[in-house]
Symmetry: C2
Subunit: 490 residues, 2 copies
């Protein structure tokens, strides 16, 4: 794998000069072509032997291309605030939009290389991490983010020589880091780790390219060529998608909507007592010291006019206005569409001690976007898996996650629509879209059924409630939240 | 001032019912009208006696209006990360865009009220804070953010009664905070503080409205009416602008561009030695422990093709890619235009230990926007003062701030333009706009002269450099940055 690179090949000056001019023009043209097309973002993962000149090469790329559309993203060890979130959070937050290029130092591969360089590898954890990275990448690619991975490599002797050369001049010595020197000692282990990880994560849709790095000019040429190769790839080769439904039909599970009792009600006085009591417990829980090391995310889905807003207000009344955010999810804005659909939800993951409430959520992908045919079939089929991964990362990092589906019967919905139309201050809540959605009720019900079957997981179960009696639904919502939070903090 | 509110007035139920229906319709209509117009953002500052029911009223407003376009912004004591930035940073970051409404708890007024409630007021500091808030508000208004300030007030007896009533029921007791109980004891001091601050900051362009709060229904009506009043105000009354130029002409100062020596050069070998030496010192300085409690902001302005990009690259080569960001400033995007022009720069203020480099900057307001007549004359005249305030806040919070103007002679600029046009990989750097700017050179020179006269301040001086010899300019840029950083860390 490293044979060519460890022979430390060089390029003749004359050939370099010729190639350089040619490559710069092509790189720039391609960069502008994608900027105009906005068809994909390019993510270049930078890794390799320390002291191989990665930073220098990336600086050069910034000179060759238009640097205003290249984002250098360098992730060190996560700081205290970053550790409050799932590991992938900071990568998601900084994903470049379509048309632009991100160059990533210290990617999700760093812990993989570190693990693989150990004398004794924790095989289980290593394999889990490999699987995570592979899934993450294939999801990125399926959602318009191209991934190119570069490994800068050279022989141990050449690495030593380069480091010594920089160290010999006091004006360049600062360029040599502790890692560069350490790499001398640990050359073998780093080399082995590289080999292991590259083999485990090389794939046609997101290949690794080995860059021979002993000669700065050949290094530059090969890097530019690799990026050109990515730019000129006609379409993103998304990995073959293993559809879980092929093995088991989406809906072969009992549908929680079927067994819902829409006759259940609660009296006004019971409601008043219970709402206050649950709000009281919720207030205590989110004000507790233990909650300062956790966070709460609550997603509300359901039919139009099912009473999501009213239920949300009963929840937020128990929480200090300083500690919650409500995200009302509607059609994505242009800059949101320039990112994978989960991006805007990743950006709204709450930090410790906070509550994030979603009035509609990431489930739009498998509900409205599916029913209204806004995306190809494969995209929403794939989304179940992506959403389960997303939620697993959330709950894995200690976030308390609840999902509610508020259901109303068609008659009750019609009654509420009419009531809204007649009320001068509820008219704004009802739009032609609501009536159209109502006509598509059957398709929405199918979509909901498949959604429950695919995303009702142990770490993020669905709470499906009848909201024909709004009061009943509000009490239930509060109760489920309180019990989940109290259980998590216990 | 508080006479009416302390008489604890009430509203009859029948009258309330009538008013409520009327107000809700009007509020919603006005909210949607501004959402479509996108003519202004509305900022509602919430203050008053603790336990007067502020939170309850804001919850109600969220029910009466479309809550998706209301942002409740609650600022507590700044956390560790927030303390790294100037005080106003977090307010700027969360400013709602035009068309939307922000409701602010814990605004910049909180420290003012706290100071004014003390037995011994530090008059100097208090007056400085008052001045700061007044200037901040008038700048917001001039830049499309309307400010409405509400003070919720009631008699001491009514406050006591309301608190006791909530406390008497275990299910509502949690709604009472320590502050509410404290407010009983300190009623007089809080009342006096309110009076003092309101008198000092009430103005026709951003008035205070006292909301009688003993009766929840009257409280709701008065709050809704105050917001309606703001919504229906035809145009934003920006405060009369005191133009510093009326007293002294903008350009009665020596123009640093006049005395610039464009003949100065540096030899290749001197350049190589010096660049490396300064980069070495810069690398040491930004890697030092002391720098972890500071930050560096460097703004580059100057003629097209003056070599800003090349100078920036010589600086960044000395800095770990993980620790700097380059912001290439071009015409604002639509969502940036929905905010005051300084907003996008506030968002890019670096946190501790980081370097932010601006390839063009907030000075666009008084350069391109002035010359190309993109904004009215008053806007750029006002901007000098706003920019000086901005920079004073930056340096006041410990940020090391440098501003460079790279100057080239017209002949040299023409030579570089032609060179760029002929080079296949520099063509992208030259656009029809560059040629037009060149034709407007005289107006740009005037704008630059006024800018130097108005914004060359002790805490943020301009470094005006000849860049006819690119190498000379690069060495000078590095030198000034190194000396400023070393001085600040000493």
């Amino acid at each position: 794998m490293f044979q060519e690179a460890e022979s430390d090949p060089k390029i003749a000056v004359a050939e370099y000069k010729k190639l350089e001019a040619h490559l710069r023009v092509r790189l720039l043209n391609e960069q502008y072509r994608h900027l105009n097309l906005q068809d994909r973002a390019l993510l270049v993962i930078v890794a390799g032997i320390d002291g191989a000149g990665k930073g220098e090469t990336i600086n050069l790329l910034n000179e060759w291309m238009d640097p205003r559309h290249i984002h250098t993203l360098a992730f060190g060890a996560p700081n205290k605030q970053e550790r409050e979130f799932p590991v992938a959070h900071r990568f998601w937050r900084h994903l470049p939009p379509k048309g632009e290029t991100g160059i990533v130092f210290g990617s999700g591969y760093s812990p993989l290389f570190a693990e693989a360089a150990k004398n004794r590898i924790d095989t289980d954890q290593f394999e889990r991490q490999i699987l995570f990275v592979r899934k993450f990448e294939s999801s990125l690619i399926a959602n318009g983010v191209q991934v190119l991975k570069l490994w800068f490599h050279l022989s141990r002797e050449a690495q030593h020589e380069r480091t010594e050369h920089l160290l010999s001049n006091p004006s360049t010595a600062w360029q040599v880091t502790k890692l560069d020197i350490k790499a001398q000692k640990n050359f073998k282990a780093i080399r082995r780790a590289g080999q292991l990880v590259i083999e485990a994560t090389d794939s046609p849709h997101s290949p690794w390219v080995i860059i021979p790095s002993a000669d700065p000019q050949l290094r530059a040429v090969r890097t530019a060529q690799a990026i050109l190769g990515a730019f000129t790839q006609r379409t993103l080769k998304a990995p073959a998608f293993h559809d879980p439904a092929e093995a088991k039909p989406l809906h072969r599970q009992p549908n929680p909507l079927d067994k819902l009792d829409h006759k259940v009600t609660i009296t006004k006085s019971d409601y008043d007592t219970q709402v206050l009591a649950w709000q009281n417990r919720l207030a205590q829980a989110v004000r507790s010291k233990a909650f300062r090391k956790r966070a709460l995310m609550v997603a509300f889905e359901g039919a139009d006019a099912a009473g999501k807003g009213g239920a949300i207000r009963r929840v937020t009344r128990a929480i200090d206005a300083r500690h919650f955010d409500i995200m009302a999810v509607s059609a994505p804005k242009p800059w949101e569409l320039a990112h994978p659909y989960l991006w805007r939800f990743w950006r709204n993951v709450p930090e410790h001690g906070r509550v994030a409430i979603f009035d509609r959520s990431w489930y739009g992908r498998v509900l409205v976007e599916r029913v209204e045919k806004l995306i190809p079939r494969e995209s929403w089929r794939r989304a179940y898996d992506e959403i389960n991964d997303f939620e697993q990362q959330l709950s894995g990092s200690g976030i308390i996650l609840l999902k509610f589906w508020l259901s109303v019967t068609p008659d009750e919905q019609l009654r509420r629509f009419r009531e809204r139309q007649e009320s001068p201050f509820k008219q704004f809540k009802i739009t032609p879209e609501d009536w159209r959605n109502r006509r598509n009720a059957k398709q929405y019900a199918e979509a909901a059924r498949d959604m429950f079957a695919q995303t009702d997981t142990p770490h993020a179960p669905w709470h499906v409630l009848s909201a024909n009696d709004k009061k009943h639904a509000r009490v239930e919502v509060l109760k489920h939240i309180v019990l989940a939070v109290e259980r998590a903090l216990a």
